[in-house]
């Protein structure tokens, strides 16, 4: 695949309110850089993320989707992220099975204290998606910007 040097991917990050969103906040107050490509959507818990959200993000122009939640065992609602883990594992496996590039999807555990980790994860993920190029296999042609 031809790599377009100027390609700026759109990354949608679903962040849990209690850990990862606060982690993103901390990375900001610590003046750590993470790419502006990342669009954060705050969710009450990572297990609020419905598979439809992920597909919809791809439909509407995302090139990569990342879900961030509290570390297993630290869920604000006790067990939400355990369910997330199973669901998202199966969903990502299914997307892979359908031939969607596996590096377009990711799940990371980021606590409220891990501002540095948040920035590092976002930098890394954005770079990985940038290498893949624009999302073509799971896009809706009607939504492509003319």
């Amino acid at each position: 695949m031809q790599v377009n040097e100027n390609f700026e991917p759109v990354i949608v990050a679903f962040c849990c309110n209690w850990c990862s969103y606060a982690g993103a906040d901390l990375s900001g107050t610590n003046r750590l850089n993470y790419p502006t490509n990342v669009k954060i959507i705050r969710v009450p818990c990572s297990c609020r993320v419905n598979p439809i959200f992920i597909l919809r993000a791809f439909q509407r122009g995302a090139d990569g989707v990342i879900i961030c939640g509290c570390h297993p065992g630290d869920c604000h609602y006790t067990s939400g992220n355990y369910f997330t883990r199973r669901r998202i594992t199966l969903l990502y496996s299914m997307l892979d099975f359908l031939g969607i590039e596996r590096n377009r999807t990711r799940l990371e555990w980021v606590s409220a204290a891990e501002g540095a980790k948040f920035a590092a994860v976002m930098n890394q993920f954005t770079e990985d998606v940038r290498k893949l190029g624009p999302n073509r296999r799971l896009e809706d042609l009607r939504c492509r910007k003319q």
Binding site: R60, G61, D140, R142, C143, K145, Q146
Partner: protein
């Protein structure tokens, strides 16, 4: 009548495809046939008919009608209509050819559906006479003669070649383009093939199905029949029958928000669906019985009532072979007919 031998058929396809887009039925990997845009080397399917009907060419499953763009407080409406390019559909069976007439009576009556008309004007229909009807065929019930399939040009296979006959002005133009590839036909051989087909038609298991008990004047009798409950009890409410049907013409118009504008499109709809004709007040047909009844009443009673006795079914048999629970118009007709 002019003829081409079977070996030269692909040369003919190449010739047609060099001038306009040509669609022919081809076999898929799973042995089911579907219309495909002709590319050199494709083989004409030997199947009797395609899974999806030929109505797709004039009334596609989805098509865009208009676009809207919003900027500030203004809405720009974009007319996206454009002249369709000329195309040829080859190998349409008599049942599907008749279905175009039924669609015409809906889409070309006032107000004319310009999207449909555009496609219709630019399409040349080359039909193919049937020689091996299936047990699910009952086109003769609706007065269709599969040995004389109609369309702009009729093609008659005789085992070793194909004879061509132009039926319309468009058909004559089409024939003129290919006349140098055709040779003199053999009417005697063709007559034999047709005679053979007619004999098979008489032996079809559904040959005795009659429409006498149906039509516009039978509305109340059929509508209030007690048989509907039993007929519809196992209907799962899918749209298979509707979507493989060559004459079903109901559609829905929807808006899709692309994030940077609106695309207004229409798509096939099925009276079997729970949200069919849903309006602000709710739904007019709330049970599967009513939805099921709607489909068959439309074909056997409402359509003939509105269109001079013309039934909304062509007996192609697609719903007979595709319904997940094998409930179909033949069973409905047999249950409702005068005993």
């Amino acid at each position: 009548m002019f003829r081409i031998s079977a070996e030269k058929l692909n040369d003919l396809f190449d010739r047609i495809a060099s001038k306009q887009t040509l669609y022919i039925p081809v076999d898929r990997e799973d042995k089911a046939a579907e219309y495909k845009k002709y590319e050199s080397g494709m083989t004409l399917s030997s199947a009797l008919n395609t899974v999806r009907s030929a109505k797709d060419f004039f009334f596609p499953q989805t098509e865009n009608l208009a676009e809207f763009r919003l900027s500030g407080k203004t809405i720009e409406v974009k007319d996206i209509r454009s002249e369709h390019e000329d195309f040829v559909i080859f190998g349409v069976r008599a049942c599907d050819a008749r279905s175009f007439g039924i669609l015409d009576s809906v889409f070309l009556s006032e107000p004319v559906d310009t999207f449909y008309k555009n496609r219709r004007d630019h399409g040349t229909i080359v039909t193919m006479a049937c020689t091996r009807p299936e047990e699910t065929c009952f086109c003769t019930t609706f007065g269709i003669n599969p040995t004389m399939p109609g369309g702009d040009v009729s093609v008659f296979p005789d085992g070793t070649g194909y004879s061509f006959l132009a039926n319309t002005e468009k058909g004559k133009e089409f024939m003129a383009e290919i006349s140098d590839m055709l040779e003199e036909g053999n009417p005697a051989q063709l007559a034999k093939v047709q005679e053979n087909t007619r004999n098979i038609l008489k032996r079809l298991p559904l040959a005795n199905l009659k429409t006498d008990s149906f039509g516009g004047e039978r509305l109340m009798k059929h509508f209030s029949s007690e048989k509907w409950a039993e007929l519809s009890e196992s209907c799962i409410g899918c749209g298979t029958c509707t979507f493989v049907c060559p004459t079903c013409q109901c559609y829905d118009i929807r808006d899709f928000d692309t994030g940077n504008g609106i695309k207004r499109f229409r798509c096939w709809d099925s009276c079997m669906y729970s949200d069919f004709t849903k309006m602000a007040h709710g739904n007019s047909r709330n049970s599967q019985l009513e939805r099921f009844r709607q489909r068959f009443m439309h074909k056997l009673v409402y359509h003939p009532s509105n269109h001079e006795g013309e039934f909304g079914c062509v007996g192609c048999g697609r719903c007979l072979s595709k319904c997940p629970i094998s409930m179909n118009i033949v069973k409905v007709m047999k249950a409702l007919e005068d005993k």
